[in-house]
């Protein structure tokens, strides 16, 4: 009895009858059928649910990284932790570190594919609207910052190049800052004071997505660090009003810091150039800075790392799925072998009444496939329901990709075929005389 003979002998009419017969046979032992299919049910359901949760988590992570701009290389100034040169700095009383305009000029001149750079500089202090104050940051930047960092101006407008050139005292507030400073008023057209300088509000920009995510997870702590409380002004305006050296008088101590640029975003023209460009930038910075007083973030790198993590996660999930379906399949095979033995007499009767071996094979194979298919279907339904419940109650993002249930279901059907073949052929290969005599 070859498998191919069996396939050739199948026809739709026979298939339909065999399916009806299978339902009747499985229905005779409802509890047993249910329990047998359970292995597949839980295997399929757990895979779909886990995939949905994993997809959801990695989707959020990737979205955050994408918001940073996949063609960007972000450079940040970092206060050096290593104090080898601390002696000199103490003598000069001014702590000098970080990225410089010289770095930018070099990067723009020597690294191929560099399109635009967005320098920015920060001054931290209290921001005032009359008597209302917020511990915030003034960010001096350029007019193309929102486009580069994928941040949307929600109200009003961002400052333009004319205002940059004329060092106009205009500012754009982040949403959370606008809410804090102007809880009841329309901020646009109002003025914000920092130290002795006044700035006119011309727009509101959405919060930094990374900060927004942090805020979500740590509700109520938005005000504590001044993170996200940004007021954006033209770079030249910042320099005019606060100079090159920043003085901090805080909690009784005095600190003078000179940082030319706090953050530089370098846009690379083509995605495939990002990696070599990042490598070149790294080199320039290593040469220009003895101390590691900068940090380089390559969103594309992060994205690729996130994707690799997701791949590993998927492989792990796949193995779990394979193991659980294997266990489910073995369970099904075990029961089918028992069923075949139990129904030896029926097989003998059918053989005496004209059933060929292939008829017996198809009968038992269809029964097994229906068992595993029903289990798979139930598993898909449960597997779709669980992420929905999780999203609803745990407020966790879950993503069910359409191929996940489809694949899980077809694999469960295939499990049925794979683990049904042996019992089915064993049934078909019984000697009809002995099968008829079987008690």
């Amino acid at each position: 009895m070859k498998l191919i003979d069996f396939i050739n002998g199948a026809s739709f009419y026979r298939l339909k009858r065999a399916v009806i017969l299978g339902v009747k046979s499985l229905w005779m032992h409802k509890l047993r059928s249910l329990l047998t299919a359970m292995g597949i049910v839980f295997g399929v359901c757990s895979v779909i649910a886990m995939l949905a949760i994993g997809e959801g988590a990695s989707y959020e992570a990737q979205q955050q990284i994408k918001d940073l701009g996949s063609q960007n290389v972000i450079l940040e100034s970092v206060k050096p932790t290593n104090n080898t040169t601390a002696g000199e700095q103490e003598r000069s009383l001014i702590l000098e570190y970080g990225l410089t305009f010289h770095d930018i000029a070099q990067i723009q001149a020597t690294v191929p594919g560099v399109e635009i750079t967005v320098p920015s500089r920060e001054v931290k202090d209290f921001l005032w609207n009359r008597s209302n104050s917020v511990d915030g940051v003034v960010v001096g930047t350029v007019s193309w910052y929102p486009a580069m960092r994928n941040r949307e101006v929600t109200r009003g407008r961002f400052f333009n190049e004319l205002e940059m050139a004329s060092s106009a005292p205009v500012c754009v507030l982040t949403q959370s800052l606008a809410r804090q400073l102007f809880p009841l008023e329309e901020p646009i057209g109002r003025t914000v004071r920092m130290r002795t300088s006044y700035f006119r509000v011309i727009g509101v920009i959405e919060n930094d997505p990374a900060v927004a995510a942090a805020e979500e997870s740590l509700e109520g702590s938005t005000q504590s660090s001044g993170e996200g409380m940004e007021m954006m002004v033209p770079l030249s305006t910042l320099k005019d009003h606060f100079g090159d050296v920043l003085f901090k008088y805080r909690s009784g101590s005095f600190e003078a810091v000179k940082v030319e640029l706090h953050e530089v975003t370098v846009r690379i023209a083509k995605p495939e150039q990002v990696k070599p460009a990042a490598f070149a930038i790294q080199h320039i910075l290593e040469r220009n800075h003895k101390d590691v007083d900068y940090k380089m973030i390559v969103p594309l790198d992060l994205l690729q790392r996130a994707e690799r993590t997701k791949q590993i996660f998927n492989i792990v999930l796949g193995s779990i799925a394979a193991i659980s379906l294997l266990v489910g399949g073995i369970g099904i095979m075990n029961i089918m072998l028992a069923t075949v033995t139990e129904r030896t007499r029926e097989i003998g009767i059918r053989r005496a009444l004209g059933a060929r071996k292939r008829d017996i094979v198809s009968q038992f194979l269809i029964e097994t496939v229906m068992l595993s298919g029903a289990g798979g279907l139930l598993g898909v339904l449960l597997g779709i329901a669980i992420p929905v419940v999780i999203t609803h109650f745990a407020e966790m993002k879950t993503v069910i990709e359409f191929w996940a249930p489809a694949m899980a279901f077809s694999i469960s059907v295939m499990t049925g075929v794979l683990f049904g073949i042996y019992p089915a052929f064993r049934a078909a290969d019984m000697n009809p005389v002995e099968a008829l005599r079987h008690e």
Binding site: I349, R351, A352, L353, G354, R356, D359, V433, L436
Partner: protein
């Protein structure tokens, strides 16, 4: 004594032997069997246990093949057929009736009768008609949708008879058909057999019941794997 009819035989066994190997020994369950069965014959095959009755049934029923010899059924040699062809012959040319009814428990009366038709590829509608007619004929027209376990032994055996008739076979083989029944139901079953034979059906009954042998027109006795007695071979 009955006379051998003058027709072509529906079954002809020529020098059939069946050997079983048991370790080093070979047991000859049947030896030198030459037998002609004619259309319309009403035969009982009798014999002591171990006399070869079951082997005879298996070979006549195409469930097993002879070790030596030829078996012609409806004119064609079936002793060397493939498993698939044998299955087809069993379904089309032969009707089986068993001592323990052997109905399929998960199917209803009418569905049980349909089983041989299904394996012959008869369409659903046609097979339903045939099965319903046959169920009515054996007096179960009102119980089409009952399951075997809802029927008495006699009723179950009548379903089995209807099932054996569904493909209009050349020969009906009955193996101790009344063995599990009380005398009244058994009598009913035998009366059905009589009627079927009167309609021209060829019936072969395997039995150890001498009373049953008296109903049939031809008696064959097996002993030690050989035909010890055949009504047709007796001198008048």
């Amino acid at each position: 004594m009955a006379r051998r009819p003058d027709t072509d035989p529906v079954i002809e066994l020529r020098g059939v032997e069946k050997h079983y190997t048991m370790g080093e020994f070979t047991v000859k369950a049947l030896q030198g069997i030459n037998l002609k069965i004619h259309p319309g014959d009403y035969i009982s095959i009798l014999g002591p246990s171990g006399g070869g009755k079951s082997t005879m049934l298996n070979i006549l029923g195409c469930l097993d093949q002879p070790t030596i010899g030829e078996y012609f059924l409806s004119g064609s040699d079936v002793s060397r057929l493939s498993d698939d062809d044998l299955s087809k012959v069993r379904g089309k040319e032969l009707g089986f009736i068993f001592q323990s009814y052997n109905l399929i428990q998960q199917l209803t009366v009418v569905e049980n009768i349909e089983v041989p038709l299904y394996y012959q590829g008869v369409s659903e509608k046609e097979s339903r008609e045939i099965a319903t007619d046959l169920a009515t004929k054996v007096g179960l027209g009102t119980r089409l949708d009952h399951r075997p376990n809802e029927l008495s032994g006699g009723q179950q055996q009548r379903v089995a008879i209807a099932r054996s008739l569904s493909c209009d076979p050349a020969v009906i083989l009955a193996d101790e058909a009344t063995g599990n029944l009380d005398s009244k139901s058994g009598g009913d079953i035998l009366r059905i057999f009589d009627e079927l034979n009167a309609e021209g059906k060829t019936l072969i009954m395997i039995t150890h019941d001498e009373a049953m042998a008296e109903r049939t027109s031809r008696v064959i006795r097996l002993k030690d794997g050989e035909i010890a007695f055949d009504t047709y071979d007796q001198p008048d």
